[in-house]
Symmetry: C2
Subunit: 188 residues, 2 copies
């Protein structure tokens, strides 16, 4: 008989982050995570390829959200306004209920060189996807690449503030970051 598992995936994520935080990423096994979540290792592998994927499964969700947000921006929107729409779309993923997870995840990644490298690769992939999205909107290179990288800059700094800070709204931080970027660029 299959045991009914209310949000086994969510419990696995919470359990994994707790264990990575308590013991370190290296010292945690899939068996530990499954046990803490009250499921079998087999159930773990139904949701995640390995213990690293618990941390990075959200990266492709984020990229899809942002690329869709970019695509759905008004046809006449300037490149950075379209990027701002992508950042707005990202905010749907980073509600207050996710902040504890994101904060723990950020600390675990920062403490591990291999994870940090993987995170940077994911950001590089996000930048390439945003640049491709801008090119599909008719923005030529190098402006497409530059607007995409500028968007990553806003995301990067805003995200750091979101995980480090108090209870700021993610979307507000992204909008403030874009406004700051425009302000910086307007200073001679």
């Amino acid at each position: 008989m299959v045991r009914w598992e209310p949000d086994a995936e969510g419990r696995l994520r919470v359990a994994a982050l707790e264990l990575y935080t308590e013991r370190g990423f290296e010292q945690t096994t899939v068996a530990d995570i499954a046990e803490r979540a009250g499921v079998t290792a087999r159930t773990f592998f139904r949701y995640f390829a390995d213990k690293r994927e618990v941390l990075f499964a959200g990266s492709s969700v984020l990229q899809d959200l942002m690329v869709t947000g970019l695509k759905d921006a008004p046809a006449g929107a300037s490149p950075l306004t379209a990027i701002a729409a992508a950042l707005d779309a990202a905010a749907t993923m980073f509600g207050p209920e996710r902040r504890t997870f994101s904060r723990q995840r950020h600390a675990v990644i920062t403490a591990n060189a291999e994870l940090r490298e993987r995170e940077l690769i994911k950001m590089e992939s996000l930048g390439a996807a945003l640049a491709a999205g801008l090119r599909r909107r008719g923005v030529p290179d190098p402006r497409a690449g530059l607007a995409a990288q500028a968007g990553l800059a806003v995301f990067h700094v805003g995200f750091q503030n979101w995980v480090a800070g108090g209870d700021e709204d993610f979307a507000d931080l992204m909008r403030a970051g874009m406004a700051d970027l425009r302000g910086l660029a307007a200073e001679a």
Copy 2:
């Protein structure tokens, strides 16, 4: 008797890049590089800790150049103008004589996940150093972090164009990139 070695370091760099390009990074040994450069392995290790360092020794030179350029920008310069001074300083490293090396290096790094990750870590370190330099100039966070990341965006896109392109001047590409960024930010 010690053999006189005109620019052994330079010959080792050229030899390494040739071999990485011909055979791949993984398939090249320090002994191969030393042999091609006409020196002993011992001489190799006088200049580089390992075969990876041949590719990344320039990264700290670049960072020092840019941080010094930032520090030496006029006291009243805006954050992005100070960053532009750092990009100008970087250009002293990327003269036409370095383009072949940079182009081969870029191809070798792009083909190898581990090297790509290391390159991204170096860029992250450069971003942190520029942000710290801006803070020392009195720019508060999050503007310091954002201006530094925007500078990396210009560097990243301009560098890609420099290695991919014809005979554009590196400094010109950096200045055009900064102008593009300001232009993008000025569009509503």
